[in-house]
């Protein structure tokens, strides 16, 4: 049962990812990109990190994908211009893939079975964030502020000059 579910989710995700990578029409690719995150979120649920999965749905699908769609709409282009396919990219990707698989297979220590499922409550995550990882939390806050301001400045039109 477990492995069956795992297989369905895995294949679903990979197929959608492939679609996102190869579809010629930009809007289709973006939408399949959004669906891919559903699959990844399902992965998280399967692995027992429900909170992360939900966060994934909220942030990626709700924000990032939407952002990408907006940008696509804001930058209309000549469709024919960007058709193109660099085969060199494929070669590199396949080479990296091969290297990674070989590394994984070679490593004995990762061929282990899952242990007992850990119970992870939101309370525990919250405590961890606020007590042990409060410094990274603050830094990420600063980073988000910087990103916000930076993005605003980048797209601000020069009305004054």
């Amino acid at each position: 049962m477990n492995i069956f579910v795992f297989g369905i989710i895995a294949s679903f995700t990979l197929i959608v990812a492939l679609a996102a990578a190869t579809l010629p029409k930009l809007m289709h690719a973006a939408l399949s990109f959004a669906v891919m995150f559903l699959g990844i979120s399902a992965f998280f649920f399967l692995l027992g990190a429900e909170f992360v999965g939900l966060v994934q749905v909220f942030v990626y699908i709700g924000a990032v994908a939407v952002l990408i769609v907006f940008t696509i709409l804001l930058t209309p282009h000549d469709v024919g211009n960007v058709r193109g396919f660099g085969w060199s990219g494929v070669v590199v990707a396949i080479a990296v893939f091969g290297g990674l698989i070989w590394a994984i297979v070679k490593t004995k220590s990762v061929a282990i079975a899952p242990s007992v499922a850990k119970a992870l409550t939101v309370k525990q995550i919250g405590e961890a964030l606020m007590i042990s990882y409060v410094w990274p939390l603050l830094c990420v806050g600063v980073l988000l502020t910087a990103a916000l301001i930076g993005a605003l400045i980048l797209v601000m039109e020069d009305k004054r000059s």
Partner: protein
């Protein structure tokens, strides 16, 4: 007893108050000063009474000033007949002078400053008198010197006044150095600077015993201070120049009070002078006598040839102070102090009278240009005549006569030598001579003044003159040998009223001498003219005396020249040696700075610039090889990561 300190404190506080008022209310400052002086007078009067009750009264109030290590410095105040009598004289004469100044200095713009300085001086002088500790006395001594400097140079726009003030201060400083050394030696030997301290004071038997043979030297060192302050030879040179100050200043400081401080000091520390006395003679006292004799005679001789009305009186003061020192030296302490008190009154009277004349003639001070003022200024003439007779020593009615009598009596019985006595007799004749000369020149004869109609001074100036003249006469009542009240008061013996003592052979002698002097003066100077008769007959002697026996010039050639040489030497050292060293060090710094600048500009900056240019050039060259496209860049990154991964996996 514990409020005695209020007496010096009041005028000083009034002085500060006046200074804080500034120039706003000159009339108010005069009022404050007079009120302060009246308060001090009343307090002195009140303090006078306890000293009358018991003979040999001495009230002492000591306290600890500060503690250093395991020693404590104690100072205090003393009230004894000497202090009480001095306080009465100082406050009364001071009050008369303050009132006179209101009239004399009325046109001056700096009236507030004048009264502030006067009050300050008054307070400091009172402090000298009531101090029980030699250190406290020295502190007030210096303050008195400071006040004298400020007041001599009061007219700051006159360079001669400033020079005179400097001369006064520096000359008295020379004396004060000796004084201070004496204080240090005394403290070292006796361990205390208090005069009277329940038997432990340095003037009491226990303290004196600790001094031993050093007492002579200590006494002489302390006497140095007295030489400076009281204008004895050789430090007398500042006193005639101090006449540059306003006349009330000359009256207060250089006639009645400050110069009296030296005599007072000798009287105060008399026990130190008389340690180991044989028949009342010690070596330190002998020095005092001889210096007094030289001073008295020399100043009287110089006074005969002076033509500035104030300078005659100044030299007269120097001469009288010499007489007082002689009196103290031969053992007549009470006689000397009595002459000091009387001299305070009539010398102040004479100076204020001179001030009245100067004011009426619009600041003319040369007696050869005065004359015939007898009818124009009757009150001034009458009071001046009384003062002149008191100074000359006319006996019976004038205090000066009795006190001079007492002094001559004391000198005649000095076992060491009779020369002082004879020389002082000559001094009496000379005193009468120059005073007669002065009064004839100023008040009798033809009017030679440029001022057409001189008139009598205002009441505010004549009333103090009258008060002082009355005091000069009344004072004589307590001075007569028939009823030696003041002498017994000062020495602590009971007075005896004996009218027979009024007529002693000495009286006839002094009467004869004074008469001789006055007659000589009248005979020589009765035909007053521009040219002095002595100058006509003995021009060389006259020139010698007129130029103050060339003492100032001798000092100028020797000591001042030496000082100038040292100053030139120091300047040369400073200019070429020390300055050279500093400049060289500065040059090293400059050199270092130049090196650093050069390095910074040519080495570091250039290096950075060249490096930057090189990097830019390299970058330009490298960028030609780039495609500029990001995807191949990313592909290269990915391949690099792959390579690393394989490396790690291979290495295990």
């Amino acid at each position: 007893m514990n409020t005695v300190w209020l007496i010096p404190a009041t005028p000083i506080v009034v002085a500060l108050l006046i200074l804080s008022l500034g120039k706003t209310a000159p009339g108010l400052s005069a009022v404050f000063a007079v009120i302060g002086q009246i308060a001090a007078l009343i307090m002195s009067f009140v303090a006078f009474f306890p000293t009358l009750h018991a003979h040999g009264f001495r009230g002492v109030e000591n306290f600890t000033w500060f503690v250093f290590g395991n020693q404590s410095l104690r100072i205090g105040f003393v009230l004894d007949p000497l202090a009480a009598a001095m306080m009465m004289m100082i406050t009364l004469v001071g009050l008369c002078i303050f009132v006179f100044s209101i009239g004399y200095m009325a046109d001056d713009k700096n009236l507030s400053r004048f009264f502030a300085y006067l009050s300050f001086f008054s307070g400091a002088m009172l402090g000298v008198v009531v101090a029980n500790s030699l250190l406290l006395l020295f502190i007030f001594w210096e303050l008195v010197g400071l006040a004298s400097y400020l007041l001599i140079g009061f007219w700051i726009e006159r360079p001669s006044a400033a020079a005179a003030a400097k001369k006064a201060f520096i000359t008295t400083r020379v004396g004060d150095m000796g004084f201070f050394l004496g204080i240090l030696w005394l403290y070292h030997n006796s361990g205390t600077l208090l005069f009277y301290d329940n038997g432990h004071g340095c003037l009491e038997s226990a303290g004196l015993a600790m001094l031993g043979t050093s007492a002579t030297f200590i006494a002489l060192l302390i006497f140095c201070g007295a030489i400076g302050k009281s204008g004895q030879f050789p430090l007398h040179v500042w006193l005639p120049d101090a006449m540059e100050g306003p006349t009330p200043v000359s009256a207060l400081i250089h006639a009645a009070t400050m110069v009296a401080a030296g005599v007072f000091l000798v009287a105060r520390v008399y026990p130190i002078f008389s340690v180991g006395a044989i028949n009342g003679v010690t070596s330190s006292l002998a020095v005092v006598v001889w210096i007094g004799v030289i001073t008295g005679l020399m100043a009287a001789l110089v006074a005969v040839a002076q033509s500035d009305i104030k300078r005659i009186l100044a030299y007269s003061t120097v001469s009288q102070l010499g007489l007082m020192m002689v009196s103290l030296g031969v053992g007549g302490v009470a006689a000397g102090i009595m002459h000091l008190l009387a001299h305070g009154f009539f010398k102040a009277l004479l100076f204020l009278g001179a001030g009245s004349v100067i004011h009426a003639l619009h600041h003319e001070q040369d007696i050869r240009k005065m004359g015939g003022l007898r009818r124009a200024m009757p009150v001034t003439f009458a009071t001046y005549a009384i003062g002149m007779m008191a100074l000359s020593g006319v006996p019976f009615f004038f205090s000066g006569g009795w006190t001079k009598e007492e002094v001559l009596h004391a000198t005649s019985s000095w076992p060491s030598s009779h020369i002082p006595h004879y020389l002082m007799l000559v001094g009496v004749v000379l005193t009468a001579l120059y005073m007669s000369r002065q009064i004839i020149y100023v008040f009798f004869g033809n009017r030679r003044a440029a001022e057409e109609h001189p008139h009598e001074s205002r009441h505010v100036m004549t009333i103090p003159l009258i008060v002082l003249a009355v005091c000069a006469i009344l004072f004589s009542v307590v001075l007569t040998p028939g009823w030696p009240w003041l002498e017994s008061y000062l020495t602590g013996h009971a007075p005896q009223f004996d009218s027979r003592l009024l007529f002693q052979p000495m009286i006839l002698l002094s009467l004869g001498l004074v008469g001789t002097g006055i007659a000589l003066g009248v005979w020589m100077y009765h035909a007053t003219s521009e040219l002095d008769p002595l100058q006509r007959k003995l021009p060389a002697l006259f020139r010698f005396l007129e130029n103050k026996m060339w003492i100032d010039e001798i000092y100028d050639r020797t000591i001042i020249a030496l000082g100038a040489l040292f100053a030139w030497l120091s300047d040369w050292m400073d200019r070429y040696v020390w300055d050279g060293i500093v400049r060289d060090v500065g040059a090293i710094g400059q050199l270092f700075g130049k090196l650093t600048t050069g390095t910074d500009e040519r080495v570091i900056n250039a290096g950075v610039d060249e490096g930057t240019v090189g990097a830019q050039g390299f970058g330009r060259v490298m960028s030609r090889w780039h495609s500029g496209q990001i995807q191949p860049y990313l592909g290269a990154v990915a391949l690099g990561m792959l390579a690393l991964l394989l490396l790690y996996a291979w290495l295990g």
